[in-house]
């Protein structure tokens, strides 16, 4: 019964994704391509981090290597490309696998924090050397290529690129999922839980770690290749630490325990960046606040939140659950609105131009600020009462909801008391 409904859900999801270009505008289709690529990257990362328990800080290196491998393959043979365009991500896979195997061999000699530091060092070294190696990485304008027509399609429109990306992402996710149910994939869980014991059981732990690392790097390379096919250019800024950091954040926000969790987290955060970055200058602040809130209050990530909601719905029954859900949503909306209002107000108040205007006119020291089409006076009480009210309302609703959810928290508490350490304590040198 369970697996049937999961299959149906997956099929529905695939159908929905396939229908995206027909339902949404071209701009949103492009955003969807970015979301798919981020989802693949996060899922590949989770193979290493969530399943094998090795937190890597420099995974952007393999994404970038895949990207550059692909762009050079596209430019090879005088521009016609080593492979037909639909098969181009294989170049990314091969380069990611090759470099991943080498880097993994060195990195997995250590565990825990030291492993993380080695991956960081490799990525930073690559990032620092890339600008100097112009033949390979093309300087700060990067290397550009052009998609060549193949199989009767010219790959000139966003829709065709979307379907190509969708096909590769679905195939890669399927392969990753099947990998996790093979014995080798299962052994990776053993790596996370107790590497010593695994060694005593006779398994070659270092070889296994290198295998997991290589597979993760290979699929990261495919994600990098897909980005290059979409953008037709690769630039060494892809090795930046912020990309490595964002994939870690996306994975944990989505939830590491569920297979599709990181994909969910990555899609949502990519969409958040796409939608909000044009609306406000302070969107990085909102993103940071979101990260911190998720880390503090949703340790299992969004997938865990959905699981909690499902459990609650079963426990309370739909009739009693619906108002709780509505209250939760209302509380979040109110708190978000209040916070956004205050931040936007402060941002305009402290901007240089406003301060110049304020000091210029001694008679009216605090000119009004336009927000949401309404002029607010900083000196007026109502300007501050509105957000205060929103925040207070949201806070009250939140407290009420927490009391309702208390028993459910206690249910999941036992799991939290003995957490599987995702990074072993310092001093765990192999």
């Amino acid at each position: 019964m369970r697996s049937n409904s999961t299959l149906v859900a997956v099929a529905l999801g695939v159908l929905l994704l396939a229908g995206v270009p027909m339902l949404l505008s071209q701009g949103l289709v492009n955003a969807a391509i970015q979301m798919l690529i981020a989802a693949l990257f996060a899922s590949a990362y989770n193979v290493l981090c969530g399943q094998a328990g090795m937190l890597s800080f420099g995974h952007a290196a393999y994404f970038g290597i895949g990207a550059f491998g692909t762009v050079h393959a596209m430019n090879a043979l005088g521009g016609t490309g080593l492979l037909p365009t639909p098969l181009m991500p294989l170049a990314g896979a091969v380069s990611g696998l090759a470099i991943g195997a080498v880097a993994g061999w060195f990195a997995t000699k250590r565990t825990g924090t030291y492993f993380a530091m080695i991956t960081l060092a490799i990525a930073e070294l690559l990032h620092a050397l890339a600008p100097h190696l112009k033949g390979l990485f093309g300087g700060e304008a990067g290397v550009s290529a052009m998609r060549m027509p193949a199989m009767g399609l010219n790959f000139g429109s966003t829709t065709q690129v979307y379907y190509l990306t969708l096909a590769w992402v679905l195939a890669s996710l399927a392969l990753l999922y099947f990998y996790t149910v093979t014995p080798a994939g299962r052994l990776a869980l053993g790596l996370r839980e107790n590497g010593h014991r695994l060694r005593f059981l006779g398994y070659h732990v270092h070889g296994l770690s290198v295998l997991v690392f290589s597979i993760s790097a290979m699929f990261s390379g495919i994600a990098g290749a897909l980005q290059v096919i979409n953008n037709e250019a690769a630039n060494y800024v892809v090795f930046d630490a912020s990309l490595s950091a964002s994939v870690v954040l996306n994975t944990y926000i989505g939830g590491v325990k569920v297979f599709l969790g990181p994909a969910l987290g990555a899609s949502l955060m990519t969409f958040f960046g796409y939608a909000v970055s044009d609306l406000t200058q302070s969107w990085l602040l909102y993103q940071g606040i979101l990260f911190v809130l998720v880390m503090m209050f949703m340790p299992e990530g969004l997938a865990g939140l959905l699981g909690l909601a499902a459990r609650e719905q079963r426990r309370l029954g739909l009739a009693r659950f619906a108002p709780v859900l509505l209250a939760c949503v209302a509380a979040s909306v109110l708190l978000a609105a209040g916070t956004t209002f205050v931040v936007e107000l402060l941002q305009r108040m402290f901007s240089q131009d406003y301060r110049a205007l304020a000091s210029a006119n001694a008679a009216a020291p605090w000119p009004p600020i336009t927000l949401l089409g309404h002029a607010w006076l900083p000196a007026a009480a109502v300007t501050w009462l509105v957000p205060a009210g929103l925040l207070a309302g949201g806070g009250v609703l939140l407290l009420a909801v927490r009391r309702r959810l208390q028993p459910a928290q206690a249910e999941s508490e036992p799991a939290a008391h003995a957490p599987a350490p995702l990074v072993q304590s310092p001093g765990g040198a192999a």
Partner: protein, 313 residues
């Protein structure tokens, strides 16, 4: 000869500045087992608080008060954020500090703007200490170095010779036992985190006047501090000092070296081949000056992961 002396002095002073920032980080790591990504943000906060207070309290007053404020911020972060996430594992703590570094950077940009601010050395300290060859050596640099050395001596004495220090060290090694003996271990944790943050804040207040104070300060110094902590040994104060001096000297002396790998290969007669191959072999050491610390970090991690003076597992 003079150029060499100047480079040596510069390297040592730069290394001492790195030490001021990384001392707190290595102590916090030794205590909590988590790398605090927000540490460089405390450095930035120290500089900005000093800038904001400068108008009211003057340079020395701001220098004294700003680390205390940053220490307070650090204590709040530990008590209300990190403690809550502690039971979910190290990864969550790490990511929380990462998110916090974002928030701090954006808040600084919100209140102080995107451009560098006018936080400068006061005129009373802006003189040359002595002349070396054709250039002056500014006295403020020596002041920075002096503060760093004083910091090192004070912390070392505090940790090894005072009762508080012994309690802190025991809480680091055996927190449960220390708690069983009646010490308030959570308070110790909060205190160490706060003091670590305050040290970074002091570094920011002192160095921000000499280098520029801008919202990207944390990013500029952040990665180098990690390199120092890893090379020196996670948790070791002496290691941090040694590593920062080493990295400071390497960065400073490398700038004067214009040799390349091709020159080295010339010793075996392979120069022409090396120059034909190009790429890595023809890169000058001087243009790689900022990259060498990462190579050092990788080497240390592969050969001796516990760092130069760290505890062997």
């Amino acid at each position: 000869m003079d150029t060499l002396l100047v480079s040596l002095l510069n390297g040592i002073i730069y290394g001492l500045v790195l030490f001021m920032v990384s001392a707190g980080l290595t102590l916090i790591f030794g205590m909590m087992g988590v790398l605090n990504f927000a540490h460089a943000s405390f450095y930035m906060l120290g500089a900005y608080f000093a800038f904001a207070l400068q108008g009211v309290l003057g340079f020395w007053g701001a220098l004294a008060l700003s680390p205390l404020l940053v220490g307070l911020v650090g204590a709040v972060v530990e008590r209300f954020f990190l403690r809550r996430v502690h039971r979910y594992g190290h990864a969550h703590e790490l990511l929380l500090t990462f998110g916090l570094s974002f928030i701090i950077a954006e808040l600084v940009k919100l209140f102080f703007g995107n451009f560098p601010v006018n936080y400068r050395i006061p005129a009373s300290l802006d003189f040359a200490a002595f002349r070396l060859g054709s250039s002056d050596y500014p006295a403020y640099r020596l002041l920075m170095g002096g503060v760093a050395v004083a910091m090192f001596v004070l912390i070392y004495l505090l940790l090894t010779r005072t009762r508080v220090g012994i309690v802190v060290r025991s809480a680091i090694y055996r927190p449960r036992m220390a708690e069983a003996l009646g010490h308030n271990v959570p308070l110790v944790f909060m205190g160490v985190f706060g003091v670590g943050a305050a040290l970074a804040g002091l570094a920011g207040a002192v160095a921000g006047a000499f280098y520029t104070t801008n919202p990207n300060m944390a990013l500029e110094l952040g990665v180098m501090v990690f390199v120092v902590v890893v090379v020196g040994g996670l948790g070791s104060l002496e290691g941090a000092m040694l590593a920062s001096l080493l990295i400071g000297l390497i960065t400073s002396l490398a700038v004067a070296v214009d040799a390349t790998l091709a020159d080295a290969l010339a010793l075996v007669g392979a120069r022409a081949w090396a120059e034909e191959v190009g790429g890595l072999l023809t890169l000058k050491v001087s243009s790689l000056a900022a990259t060498l610390p990462f190579a050092l970090m990788l080497l240390i991690l592969l050969v001796r992961p516990s760092g130069l003076l760290g505890e062997k597992a």
